[in-house]
């Protein structure tokens, strides 16, 4: 008979004898607790470090750009694709590069958001590396060509501008290419997506004369909030502790669960009865004129000219009385409406970047990163505006979306939002064409 029950063996991992209270005092218990906690932490840290767990928090507060990747941080990225990335000493997904351009070197700096940062693939597979390899193979006989990656997740056009001004130009690039995602204009809306760390950055607006003005109010508001203070206090842990990173991921899951719970999605009987309530960001009001720092002022300072650190934005009544700025209504969600409202700022920022580059003897190129019209991740109005602007300013321009849409369907180019290794390959070929056809490739 084959189907017999095995004797009820003890599978519980238990001590042979029931645990008994030791005849030790409180000090023994305290020492035991301390030793146990230290040993468990060390073991977990080692295991997590080996597996690359808890390395997905890698941004820190920066008084110039709002936030930047941590310097020398190792990131194992598994949210989308897979990347094991060592950021360099300047907090970039790149090898070490000296500020001073070595003799006989041609530098192309690529500025952008997470598309350019490329945490989803191995560094050897991202388009910057592929571009550098190919350019050196083709034109390396005359000079060495370097492609510098200045991508940072969630960066807005305003941050691109600040980054070019304060970091990129220090590397004396010959070409600066900015990669603009389809939601770039939308991201110019203050607090787009809510009161969060990713929105604690400099925002830009236009005054009555149409000049760009820089505002640090949201940055200071968030950084002086309890959440921001906690964030600052835990920077060491966020940088070095894998356990802390894992807890952060866990808390993220908890927040999502809580949202589902509130929406009644956790329980079967709540699904029909309740609908998820869309989360609306707290209303943002126009700051007073005095709170702006002029675009070329030293805005990276502690508080920005005139802004009071920690002060929440003024009330709507005070904002409406502002006389020197154009009141731009808050746009949430609607990409087309946001583009209409914020394009004037995007336009000014791109013009300012082009002007800065010209002043430093380098050329600006613009790439519009791939959209995904099939899932509604698209912004035709922004594409049209970019085409017109770059044409008017004679800035070399490429839109990657047509190439991505016409690629063979069996090749996966995008994970859910960002590019796969095949996507990077396609992007690099398109960039190569753009650079070569405009004599920007060191050719």
């Amino acid at each position: 008979m084959s189907l017999a029950v095995a004797p009820d063996t003890k599978q519980v991992i238990a001590p042979e004898a029931p645990p008994q209270e030791r005849p030790f005092g409180i000090w023994h218990r305290l020492i035991e607790a301390a030793v146990a906690v230290v040993v468990v932490i060390l073991v977990l840290e080692c295991l997590f470090a080996m597996a690359g767990v808890g390395e997905q928090e890698y941004l820190r507060v920066d008084k110039v750009l709002g936030f930047v990747p941590m310097e020398n941080k190792h990131v194992t990225w598994r949210k989308e694709g897979y990347g094991s990335i060592q950021f360099n000493s300047q907090g970039r997904n790149d090898i070490e590069r000296p500020f001073a351009k070595p003799a006989n070197t041609y530098r192309i700096a690529i500025v952008g958001d997470s598309f350019v940062e490329s945490l989803q693939v191995d560094r050897s597979q991202n388009f910057c590396t592929l571009l550098e390899k190919t350019l050196n193979a083709k034109y390396g006989a005359n000079h060495h060509i370097e492609v510098l990656n200045f991508g940072c997740s969630a960066n807005s056009l305003g941050q691109f501008y600040k980054k070019i001004d304060t970091q990129v130009l220090r590397y004396q690039p010959d070409v600066v290419m900015i990669g603009i995602s389809v939601d770039a204009t939308k991201l110019l809306a203050p607090l787009q997506g809510g009161f969060a760390f990713a929105n604690a950055r400099p925002t830009f607006m236009l005054d009555k004369k149409g000049n760009l003005v820089e505002d640090w109010q949201i940055f200071h508001w968030w950084n002086n909030s309890p959440e921001g203070k906690r964030f600052a206090r835990t920077e060491f842990l966020r940088h070095y502790s894998h356990i802390w990173g894992a807890i952060g991921t866990m808390m993220g899951s908890y927040s999502s669960w809580l949202e589902d719970f509130k929406a009644g999605k956790v329980w079967g009987w709540g699904q029909v009865a309740q609908q998820a309530v869309p989360v609306v960001a707290p209303p943002v009001v126009q700051p007073k004129a005095g709170s702006y720092s002029a675009i070329n002022s030293s805005c990276g300072g502690s508080s920005g000219a005139g802004t009071s650190p920690g002060a929440a934005p003024a009330s709507s009544s005070s904002s409406s009385s502002s006389s020197s700025s154009i009141a731009l209504p808050q746009a949430q969600g609607d990409v087309a409406a946001a583009t209409k409202q914020y394009w004037p700022i995007a336009d000014k920022l791109i013009r300012a970047m082009a002007s800065d580059c010209r002043a430093h003897n380098c050329r600006l190129a613009v790439a519009h990163l791939p959209a995904r019209p099939e899932i509604g991740y698209d912004n035709p109005a922004e594409t049209k505006n970019l085409e017109e602007l770059t044409s008017a300013l004679s800035i070399p321009y490429i839109d990657l979306t047509p190439a991505f849409l016409s690629a063979p369907k069996e090749t996966s180019l995008i994970y859910s939002v960002h590019m796969t290794p095949a996507g990077h390959k396609l992007a690099y070929r398109e960039f190569l064409n753009l650079l070569e056809s405009n004599k920007l490739a060191g050719n």
């Binding site: 008979m1 084959s2 189907l3 017999a4 029950v5 095995a6 009820d8 063996t9 599978q11 519980v12 991992i13 238990a14 001590p15 042979e16 004898a17 029931p18 645990p19 008994q20 209270e21 030791r22 030790f24 023994h28 218990r29 305290l30 035991e32 607790a33 146990a36 906690v37 040993v39 468990v40 932490i41 073991v43 977990l44 295991l47 997590f48 080996m50 597996a51 690359g52 767990v53 808890g54 598994r78 949210k79 897979y82 094991s84 894998h242 356990i243 894992a246 807890i247 991921t249 866990m250 899951s253 908890y254 669960w257 719970f261 956790v266 329980w267 079967g268 009987w269």
Partner: protein
């Protein structure tokens, strides 16, 4: 509600605290309420199904006990009703789909009076755990018919049927054990808490850190069988073999741990099955509660092994084929069960041929031969699981072909995916834990009495501060190693 979900993380501690703080007389009621909340949080109306089946079977049990002279008729009616309910929910879609496929491919010259389009469109959603609680009901009415006393108290019976730690995927309980425990409710004590938490965390680690990491790898392989290279095909097959154990035993551990924390002991379902040195032994160690159910309520009633040689093998074949069908309404499950029926018959023939032969007995006692037999058993189980896991027979044949002939992977190899996950380190951590905790049950280590006694000494030395730190660390490890997307438990679909 998944045991690994955040909902359960809140649900269980509330149940635990309320349960132990409430007066003894209230506890069963509270547990029953919690079990229905647990079950109904998926599709609330199926709570009604559970309630109706429970009430029906309770009345049947009382009826069989009261009218002993007509108990066979009542039992037959009860069996038909229970199997009918199971068949409706589990096999309607399968039967209609099979019939539609047959009608669609029927030649036109047959001039059938109806076509596939005339068949009703029914999409029956399988109530979670129905295969398990219906088997418990069948066991109950059969045992009452065999002379056991029924459970008189309807609340006790309802709790037996709905007990949430074993409700969705077993283990399949025996009412005699459960009733006995109901009457001898244990007080909360440190050993109970320690054992319960250990089992819960062990199950969580198996499921969240190991199984959930393996699952996407295996799923992606089986979803694109034509792209698999030889190494990938083996990785996929072995991956699923490990996955199904981790997933199911992880669930069982969590269920047993939850039950233990409430003062109940659920039967064990696994006894290191992958260390079995024959298929007969394997089935004594794998899904023990189902194997013993099939033995007691199918194999023995068919005649068991008290019949002729051919009939014995036929009984085994029927039992295993139906056991395969129990896993799901699909041809590949049927073939998987039948294949095991044949393999077990071969195994039994080999055993009877070598029994009493001193040379073979000496050979079988050797450690290295045992190891070879264990590897062979694992390989056979592994091969059989390909047809179990594949979406259909065609895909299974492709995987077999890829495993047995040399092929290059198309696209990214699964090995790369495996290496980029947290699985290698999590598996390493689990193996260390496993050797440290269950070493005395492993063939190589079990004889080292020093090891066993030193482990016991170490366990005794660990006070509560150490235990709490280890619990917290284990919980963090399980959650830390888990991927962002959890996979549902495999045995939920059965």
């Amino acid at each position: 509600m998944l045991f690994t979900s955040l909902s359960y993380l809140f649900f269980f501690p509330i149940v635990f605290v309320v349960y132990w703080l409430s007066p003894r007389a209230w506890r069963r009621g509270l547990l029953l309420l919690a079990s229905y909340v647990f079950y109904m949080c998926w599709i609330p109306t199926y709570g009604l199904l559970l309630f109706v089946l429970t009430a029906f079977n309770h009345l049947l049990g009382l009826g069989i006990d009261r009218y002993r002279s007509q108990s066979k008729a009542i039992l037959t009616f009860g069996l038909m009703a229970n199997i009918g309910a199971l068949a409706y929910f589990k096999y309607t879609n399968f039967l209609l789909d099979s019939l539609k496929n047959t009608l669609s491919s029927a030649p036109s010259w047959l001039h059938l009076p109806f076509t596939a389009a005339d068949l009703p469109v029914v999409n029956v959603i399988l109530p979670l755990g129905i295969s398990f609680f219906v088997f418990e009901f069948i066991h109950y009415i059969v045992d009452v018919h065999r002379g056991h006393k029924p459970i008189k108290d309807p609340f006790d019976f309802a709790l037996f049927a709905a007990f949430f730690p074993s409700q969705i995927a077993g283990p399949i309980k025996r009412f005699q054990d459960f009733e006995k425990q109901l009457n001898e409710l244990k007080p909360l004590n440190p050993t109970l808490v320690h054992n319960g938490i250990t089992l819960l965390l062990q199950g969580l680690f198996k499921k969240a850190a190991l199984s959930d990491n393996l699952s996407p790898l295996v799923s992606s392989g089986y979803a694109h069988v034509h792209t698999l290279g030889t190494v990938d095909a083996w990785l996929c097959a072995v991956g699923f073999t490990i996955l199904v154990y981790l997933d199911f035993s992880g669930y069982t551990d969590m269920g047993r741990g939850s039950a233990m924390l409430l003062g109940y002991k659920l039967p064990d379902n696994f006894n290191l099955p992958y260390f079995a040195s024959s298929l007969v032994e394997y089935w004594r160690r794998w899904h023990i509660s189902l194997s013993s159910w099939l033995r007691d309520y199918l194999y023995i009633p068919l005649g068991g092994n008290r019949v002729g040689r051919f009939r014995k093998h036929l009984n085994l074949f029927i039992t295993m084929t139906l056991g395969g069908l129990w896993h799901g309404a699909a041809w590949h499950y049927l073939i998987w069960g039948a294949a095991h029926g044949v393999m077990l018959a071969v195994n039994q023939e080999y055993d009877s041929l070598t029994k009493g032969n001193k040379v073979f007995e000496k050979l079988h006692a050797s450690f290295w031969v045992k190891l070879c037999f264990a590897a062979f058993t694992f390989t056979m189980w592994n091969f059989s699981l390909v047809i179990f896991r594949a979406a259909n027979i065609k895909d299974a044949l492709v995987v077999y072909e890829r495993m047995l002939t040399v092929h290059e992977s198309v696209g990214e190899s699964l090995v790369t995916t495996l290496c980029s996950s947290t699985l290698p380190v999590a598996l390493f951590a689990y193996v260390i834990y496993f050797v440290l905790s269950c070493g005395d049950r492993l063939p190589l280590i079990k004889d080292f009495s020093t090891y066993v006694s030193s482990r016991a000494t170490l366990a005794r030395l660990c006070g509560w501060p150490t235990r709490i730190a280890i619990y917290a660390g284990s919980f963090l490890a399980a959650v830390g190693f888990s991927p962002s997307n959890a996979s549902p438990f495999i045995y939920f679909q059965f």
